[in-house]
C-alpha cells in the first residue's frame, strides 16, 4: 500500500523580551537556578500577573509578517494541570481567542516548487521551568528561571506531507522570527523548538489517521529524523494489523528513537477557562499600523529583490536571504565590491560559508568582514588579482593577515598584466616544448591546457589568465 504522511507543527518561539511575560524578572539565559524566579514566577500565594507590552508587540509583528489576522480582542486562559515545573498548577495561555489568527506561508521545496502552508493560529503563553533529573538520588530538581518566559506558539495546519517539508516550513518560520527580531532562534538553548503531530493514511483517503505528538525536537535535523522514525513506526504498526495509539512521544536524540511519555499518557483534561486575573487584550488599528511601520524587509521580499536587483538565481537568492545577517552581509559585500553582485553571491555562499561551517562560526563572527570581502572582490573585478589568487588572499584574510590590498601587497600577488612580460614567458614555454607544439598544431586541442598551466606556473599564478589565453592562441597558430 502507498502511504501518505500528514504533519502539522506546533512551534514554540521564545520571545526576546528583557523581562518575563507576566513579571519583571529577567529572561536572560544561563543564570544560576531559581535566581530569576520572582514571587510571580514561583506562584506564591496572592501574586498576580501583568502582561508585558513588548510580548504583545512581538506577537503583532509576527502576525503581520505572516499575513495573519491580528485579533482586535484576545483572551488569556488557564490550562490546568499538575507538573512540578508549572508552579501555579496552570499555564497561562490562550485558547478561544488567540492574539494571531489564520495566516499563510509559502515554502520552497527541494524541487524548486512552492507550497503554501496554512498557519492556524499563534498565541501567547508562558514557558514552564525545567526539571533536572541528574545528580539527585531518586529526586528531580526544579529550576524555575525559565518559568514565565514569553512564548509564541505557532500552530500550523496539517499541510506538510514529508519530513523535508516540515523542516522547510520550520526553517521559514525560523527565518521570519529572527528577521523581525522577536526571537533569537537559538535552538541549542531552546529558544526555538517544536512539537510535531504526525499521522499516516492510505494515499487517497480523506480521513486523517491517528496521530502522535512528538516532543523535544530542538534541531532541524532532529525534526527530520524523528518524523521519519515515527512515520516508519506507524506504517509498520498498521501493516502488521495493529492500530496507532494517540499519544505523546519523546524523541531521544542519543538513541535516535521515539518513546511513549508515560507521564503524559493519561487523557488530559486541561479545564481551560478565561483567566480572571487578566482582562481582554485589545489591539486597535493604530497600534497595528505603528507596528507595521517597524517591520523590516521580510525574507520573501528580499529574495525577490535579490533576483531582480542583482540578477541572482532563485536558489542563490534563497540561500543568501536564509538569515537576515547573511542577507545584510551580502548586501554590504556587493556595495564594497562596487556592484559585483554575481561574484559576491558566489563568494558569500561558497568560500565564506564553507569557512564558517568549517570553523563552526556564525556569520556575525566571521574574521573576514563584509567590507573586507567586498574589497577583495573589487580587486578581482579590476584584474588586480585572478579568481585563483583570490582564494589565497581570502585564506590570508581569514587568518587575520589584513585586508585584501595589504595581503596582495605583502605577498606580491598582484596580477601580471604587462603584455611584454607575459609574452616573454609564453615564448619561453613554446620554445622549450616543441613536441607539444607539434601535437597542438596537428589538431590535439587538449594540449592547449598544458600550455596555460605551464605559463601560469612560471608566473606563479600571477599572469592574467585572459591575456595568457589570447597570446598562446595567437603564437601557437604558428
Amino acid at each position: 500500500m502507498e502511504w501518505e504522511v500528514v504533519i502539522g507543527l506546533e512551534i514554540h518561539a521564545q520571545l526576546a523580551t528583557k523581562s518575563k511575560i507576566f513579571s519583571g524578572a529577567s529572561t536572560a539565559y544561563g543564570a544560576e537556578p531559581n535566581t530569576q524566579a520572582c514571587t510571580v514566577d514561583l506562584g506564591l500565594p496572592g501574586v498576580l500577573p501583568v502582561l508585558n507590552h513588548e510580548a504583545v508587540q512581538m506577537a503583532i509583528k509576527f502576525g503581520l509578517a505572516t499575513n495573519s489576522a491580528v485579533a482586535p480582542r484576545s483572551i488569556f486562559a488557564r490550562k490546568n494541570y499538575f507538573y512540578p515545573d508549572l508552579p501555579k498548577g496552570y499555564q497561562i495561555s490562550q485558547m478561544d481567542l488567540p492574539i494571531v489568527g489564520e495566516g499563510k506561508l509559502d515554502i520552497r521545496l527541494e524541487d524548486g516548487s512552492v507550497k503554501t502552508v496554512g498557519i492556524t493560529r499563534a498565541h501567547l503563553e508562558e514557558d514552564a521551568g525545567k526539571s533536572l533529573h541528574e545528580d539527585f538520588q531518586g529526586m528531580t530538581g526544579i529550576d524555575l528561571n525559565r518559568a514565565g518566559t514569553p512564548l509564541l506558539e505557532i500552530v500550523s495546519e496539517p499541510d506538510m506531507r514529508s519530513a523535508k517539508e516540515a523542516v522547510a516550513y520550520m526553517k521559514k518560520i525560523h527565518s521570519i522570527v529572527t528577521y523581525i527580531d522577536i526571537c533569537d532562534g537559538n535552538m541549542q538553548e531552546g529558544s526555538f523548538r517544536c512539537d510535531a503531530n504526525v499521522s499516516v493514511r492510505p494515499k487517497g483517503q480523506e480521513e486523517l489517521g491517528t496521530r502522535s505528538e512528538l516532543k523535544n525536537l530542538n534541531s532541524f535535523r532532529f525534526v527530520e529524523r524523528a518524523i521519519n522514525l515515527e512515520v516508519q513506526r506507524q506504517i509498520e504498526i498498521i501493516e502488521d494489523g495493529g492500530k496507532v495509539v494517540q499519544e505523546t512521544r519523546l524523541y531521544d536524540a542519543d538513541k535516535n528513537e521515539t518513546r511513549s511519555m508515560r507521564s503524559k499518557e493519561e487523557a488530559n483534561d486541561y479545564r481551560y477557562f478565561p483567566d480572571p486575573d487578566l482582562l481582554p487584550v485589545e489591539i486597535d488599528q493604530e497600534t497595528i499600523e505603528a507596528v507595521r511601520a517597524t517591520l523590516p524587509e521580510l525574507p520573501d521580499a528580499k529574495q525577490q529583490r535579490f533576483t531582480s536587483e542583482f540578477g541572482l538565481s532563485d536558489y542563490d537568492a534563497e540561500v543568501l536571504t536564509s538569515s537576515r545577517q547573511m542577507a545584510d552581509y551580502f548586501e554590504t559585500v556587493v556595495k564594497a565590491s562596487g556592484g559585483e553582485a554575481k561574484l559576491s553571491a558566489n563568494w558569500v555562499s561558497g568560500d565564506l560559508t564553507g569557512s564558517l561551517n568549517k570553523d563552526s562560526k556564525d556569520i556575525d563572527e566571521s574574521p573576514v568582514s563584509a567590507a573586507m570581502l567586498g574589497g577583495m572582490i573589487k580587486r578581482i573585478a579590476d584584474n588586480t588579482i585572478s579568481g585563483k589568487i583570490a582564494k589565497q588572499v581570502f585564506e590570508a584574510m581569514w587568518q587575520g593577515e589584513g585586508d585584501a590590498d595589504a595581503v596582495i601587497e605583502s605577498k606580491g600577488l598582484k596580477q601580471v598584466t604587462d603584455s611584454g612580460a607575459i609574452e616573454k614567458i609564453v615564448d619561453e614555454i613554446i620554445a622549450n616544448n616543441q613536441a607539444q607544439v607539434e601535437q597542438y598544431r596537428s589538431g590535439k586541442d587538449k594540449v592547449f591546457g598544458f600550455f596555460v598551466g605551464q605559463v601560469m606556473k612560471a608566473s606563479q599564478g600571477k599572469a592574467n589568465p585572459a591575456q595568457v589565453n589570447q597570446m598562446l592562441k595567437e603564437k601557437l597558430k604558428g
Binding site: T39, L42, G43, L44, P45, G46, V47, L48, P49, V50, L51, R78, N80, F82, P84, P87, K88, G89, Y90, I142, D269, R271, Y272, F273, P276, D277, L278, L279
Partner: protein, 484 residues
C-alpha cells in the same frame, strides 16, 4: 481608650492624650485577656506591633502623622505579611511566613498604622460561619455559643469585642458584610477593582475584594482612604482617582431614592430581622429619602450561579498549593503523585476540598458549557438586574443576612443550608458592586445588619448613607457586655 472609634483614637493620639505604644499595649493586653474566649486571632504580632507603635510615636511627635499613624489594626490572615505567618486559616499554610507584603499591607505600613496580628477566618475564605478554620471556630462576642459569620469572622469578632479598633476583611460572596451583620459592626465591600488584590490570597479572583470592618461608617471611610487605589501589580485594579471618602459623610439624604428589592423580603427571611430592616428604612424616610419597590428577578439564582463561578476559579487558584515550593508537604511521599495528593488531601480541610472538586468538575470536558458558561450567562443576567435597578434608584437596601447569628455546629454538616446564609450578599459580588452592612438593631440580643448596595464606584455615597443613619441611631455604639 478601647471604646473609642478609630477617628476618636486618631484625634487623641494627635492631642497627646496617650501614645501609640500605650494604645497598642492596651489592645495587646486585651487580646491576651479576652481572645481565648472568641479565638479571633491566629497570630498576634506583638513584637512588630510595638516596634511599629514606637515608630508611629516618633512621627506623631514630629507632627508628620496622618490619620492612621499609630492606629492599631487587625489584618485578616488572607493578606500576605512579610515576616509574619500568613495561614489563610489553613493547615496548608500553617508554616508559611510570607516573603512579601500585600499591597493593602504596604498601604497601611506607609500610613504608619500598627498591625496587632492576623485574624482568624474560614479556611481560604470558604465559609459563612468561621467554622472551617484550621485554627478552630471563632465565637460571636455577643453570644459565644454562636458563630460570628464568615469568612472574615475573626476580623468582625475582634472589632466587636474591642480587641482591635478596626480590621480588614475580604468579601467574595458576603465575607465582610455577613460577619459584620452577625457581629453588629460596620463592613464595606468596595467595587471590584477599587482595592488591590495583590498579596491577598485568592479564593475566586473575579469576585474577591478587600474592605474595611469597623465600628462606624466614618471609620470605614478613613480605612478605605488608605486601602483604595490603583496598583500596577494587579491587572484588575482600576486606574481611577480615589476621592476622600470622609468628605461627603454628612451630606443630606434629602431626595435619596432607596430601592427595596421585593425578592429580599420574601420567603426565607426571619420575620424579626425583616422588622428591624423595615425600622431602619423608616429612619431613612425621616432623613428625607424616598423608597421605591424594585425587582431583582434573578436573586434566587445568585447562590447557584456563585457555586459554579467561585469553585471553578478556586479549583484553579488553589492548584499552586502542591507541597513543592512552600506550605505543607506530606511525610515521605513515595512518588510525585503521592506528594501532590497527600499534601493537598492532608493540607486542605473538607469544605475547601468540596469546592475544589465542584470547580474541577464544572470546568471538566463535557460539563464546561452546562455549568461554567451557563453560570457566566446567569452572572450577566444578575448584573443586568442591578443595572436596570440603578436607573431608578440611588442605593438598594435590604437585610444583609436572612437571620441573626446561628449556633456553632448548627449548619456545619449541611453545606447547602450554610451556602444560603449568603443569599442576599452574593449578587453584589457577581455584579462587582459595592455593598455595606450597618448595625440596625437586635433580635434576641443578637445584632441585625442592614445591607446597602450602591452603584459602581459609589462608595462615597454608601458611606454617606450609612453615616447619616449612624448619627440618628446608636446600634453601632453598643458593645457586648463581657468585652466592654
Amino acid at each position: 481608650m478601647h471604646n473609642k472609634t478609630l477617628s476618636e483614637l486618631s484625634a487623641a493620639l494627635k492631642a497627646g492624650e496617650f501614645s501609640s505604644t500605650e494604645l497598642t499595649q492596651r489592645y495587646l493586653s486585651r487580646i491576651a485577656e479576652f481572645d481565648s474566649q472568641i479565638n479571633a486571632y491566629i497570630t498576634v504580632s506583638e513584637k512588630q506591633a510595638l516596634a511599629a507603635a514606637r515608630a508611629a510615636d516618633v512621627q506623631i511627635a514630629a507632627g508628620t502623622a496622618g490619620p492612621l499613624t499609630g492606629i492599631p489594626l487587625a489584618q485578616k490572615d488572607i493578606f500576605c505579611t512579610q515576616g509574619v505567618k500568613t495561614s489563610c486559616g489553613s493547615k496548608m499554610l500553617d508554616n508559611f511566613i510570607s516573603p512579601y507584603n500585600a499591597t493593602v499591607i504596604e498601604h497601611f505600613n506607609q500610613a504608619g498604622s500598627v498591625m496587632l496580628g492576623k485574624t482568624n477566618m474560614d479556611e481560604f475564605a470558604m465559609g459563612s460561619s468561621n467554622e472551617t478554620s484550621f485554627y478552630g471556630a471563632v465565637k460571636n462576642p455577643w453570644n459565644t455559643d454562636k458563630v460570628p459569620g464568615g469568612s472574615s469572622g475573626g476580623s468582625a469578632a475582634a472589632v466587636a469585642a474591642r480587641l482591635a479598633p478596626a480590621s480588614t476583611g475580604t468579601d467574595t460572596g458576603g465575607s465582610i458584610r455577613q460577619p459584620a451583620s452577625l457581629c453588629g459592626i460596620t463592613g464595606l465591600k468596595p467595587t471590584y477593582g477599587r482595592v488591590s488584590r495583590y498579596g491577598m490570597i485568592a479564593f475566586a479572583s473575579s469576585l474577591d475584594q478587600a474592605g474595611p470592618m469597623t465600628r462606624t461608617a466614618e471609620d470605614a471611610a478613613l480605612m478605605l482612604n488608605c486601602m483604595a487605589g490603583f496598583d500596577q501589580r494587579d491587572s484588575t485594579s482600576v486606574e481611577r482617582e480615589v476621592p476622600d471618602y470622609t468628605a461627603n459623610l454628612s451630606d443630606s439624604l434629602e431626595g435619596l431614592t432607596i430601592g427595596l428589592p421585593k425578592e429580599y423580603f420574601g420567603e426565607g427571611l426571619d420575620a424579626s430581622v425583616g422588622k428591624a430592616v423595615e425600622d431602619a428604612i423608616a429612619e431613612y424616610k425621616k432623613l428625607g429619602a424616598t423608597v421605591k419597590e424594585i425587582s431583582l428577578p434573578n436573586t434566587h439564582l445568585a447562590v447557584p450561579t456563585y457555586y459554579v463561578v467561585a469553585p471553578a476559579e478556586c479549583s484553579s487558584n488553589l492548584s499552586r498549593f502542591d507541597g513543592v515550593r512552600f506550605g505543607y508537604r506530606c511525610d515521605d511521599p513515595v512518588d510525585l503523585e503521592d506528594l501532590y495528593k497527600r499534601s493537598r488531601g492532608e493540607g486542605f480541610g473538607s469544605e475547601v476540598k468540596r469546592r475544589i472538586m465542584i470547580g474541577a468538575y464544572a470546568l471538566s470536558a463535557g460539563y464546561y458549557d452546562a455549568y461554567y458558561i451557563k453560570a457566566q450567562q446567569m452572572r450577566q443576567l444578575i448584573s443586568d438586574d442591578f443595572k436596570r435597578a440603578f436607573e431608578e434608584v440611588d442605593v438598594i437596601m435590604g437585610p444583609t443576612a436572612p437571620e441573626t447569628a446561628f449556633g456553632i455546629g448548627d449548619k456545619s454538616d449541611d453545606p447547602i443550608t450554610m451556602y444560603l446564609s449568603d443569599i442576599y450578599t452574593i449578587a453584589a459580588n457577581l455584579a462587582g458592586l459595592p455593598g455595606m452592612s450597618v448595625p440596625a438593631g437586635f433580635v434576641n440580643d443578637m445584632p441585625v445588619g442592614l445591607q446597602i448596595i450602591g452603584n459602581y464606584f459609589d462608595e462615597a455615597r454608601l458611606l454617606n448613607v450609612a453615616h447619616r443613619y449612624q448619627q440618628v441611631t446608636d446600634w453601632h455604639q453598643r458593645a457586648p457586655a463581657q468585652f466592654k
